[in-house]
Symmetry: C2
Subunit: 228 residues, 2 copies
């Protein structure tokens, strides 16, 4: 197998991705938009959490979202109900978003008209780890039904994230989820990483996460909270 | 981005993988071993289901398993409790198993001493779809907590599978899972594919799945059920 050649080509692509991501990051900073990406397994609840976040931020902030999926535009349709501007990126068979896809999707957007841009990656705990999207903050989600061991089994994606969000806390008891063990496993892989635990269904923990995002946004910019 | 070059190199690798998988498949057939692979999102319950399958088959069949993960040997340790021969394949940062990894892992195995070999892939609903491992049957698992839309969003992996297994049925009610809708979505992507619904925790549905595997094994070979 010519794996070494694949590794070489892949490294070149990652390098080019990093360069473009750097350009995007600078642009986001200049335009004063706080960019937050979400990565997780399929079905961990990225879209549901984003629905809650967009719905609540929309009152006081100008928010937008890009949503990645192999197929369907279902997630974009769900998120649009919040009133935020949303664009789907369908990747076909590609297992992750990259900086080029983000740049292409933003072609018609005026970033200066946004306070927050969320980027929902393809559901995949492996490949998205390698692709910088120029985001300010990367959230890695894991749901209580996936098991407490996921940080140990997928260390790279937890290592490249800035905060972890444990989702579906409403199912914690039914799934016999051990929160303490999950947090210890996250701490083991990425010491000191902030951990939020939420239930998008019950609304628990969403405010704490929102407050952190708002702090991040205000610390990043000179501009104050503005009406939408 | 030099994506076309990546695509070209990847196609070559897939072609080489297909050739090796063909050799493996022939070897499995000659040695009369029924090879079943399992693919799913991280945390969909592949290992738990395998624990149940190995535990029950072990009484009447000679069974073995290969288990893929980026990191940790936890799954192999769990499966070994069944008494079956188990070997972990740790892939590092590679997001899928390939035929070469399977061949390497089996180097010291005598296939003629096995009736069933199970291969648990890395938790990933995208990349494993492209890699033939020489298996006779590919099972795609989805848990009730992931949402009914997963077949529509990850059509390729459902298309390359031979049967679907809906897992964690004990959580169906808590997760407000719509089984009918999930089955319709599977049917939409892969018409006619057999669908099993199981709860590894409660034991529900496991026997039906086992009976199908046994039928597959007996139809594949002239040998009858043998004591372990």
């Amino acid at each position: 197998m010519s794996q070494p050649r694949l590794v070489e080509v892949r490294q070149n692509i990652l390098k080019q991705n990093d360069l473009l991501a750097r350009v995007l990051r600078q642009r986001f900073e200049e335009e004063d938009v706080t960019v937050v990406s979400l990565v997780s397994s399929p079905g961990a609840g990225k879209t549901f959490l984003l629905e809650k976040i967009l719905g609540q931020l929309h009152a006081d902030y100008r928010v937008g979202a890009l949503v990645g999926d192999l197929a369907t535009e279902n997630d974009a349709a769900r998120l649009m109900r919040s009133g935020a501007r949303v664009q789907q990126i369908t990747t076909g068979t590609v297992c992750h978003l990259d900086a080029q896809m983000v740049e292409n999707a933003l072609q018609d957007w005026k970033l200066s008209e946004l306070d927050f841009l969320f980027i929902e990656n393809v559901g995949n705990l492996v490949c998205p780890a390698s692709y910088d999207l120029g985001e300010r903050l990367r959230l890695v989600l894991m749901s209580v039904t996936e098991g407490e061991d996921k940080p140990l089994k997928y260390p790279t994606i937890f290592n490249t994230a800035d905060a972890a969000v444990i989702t579906k806390m409403d199912l914690a008891s039914a799934a016999e989820f051990n929160l303490e063990l999950a947090c210890a496993n996250i701490e083991c892989v990425r010491p000191g990483m902030p951990i939020f635990s939420v239930s998008s269904k019950a609304g628990a923990g969403i405010n704490e996460l929102l407050e952190s995002l708002k702090t991040l946004s205000s610390s990043a910019s000179q501009k104050q909270m503005r009406p939408a």
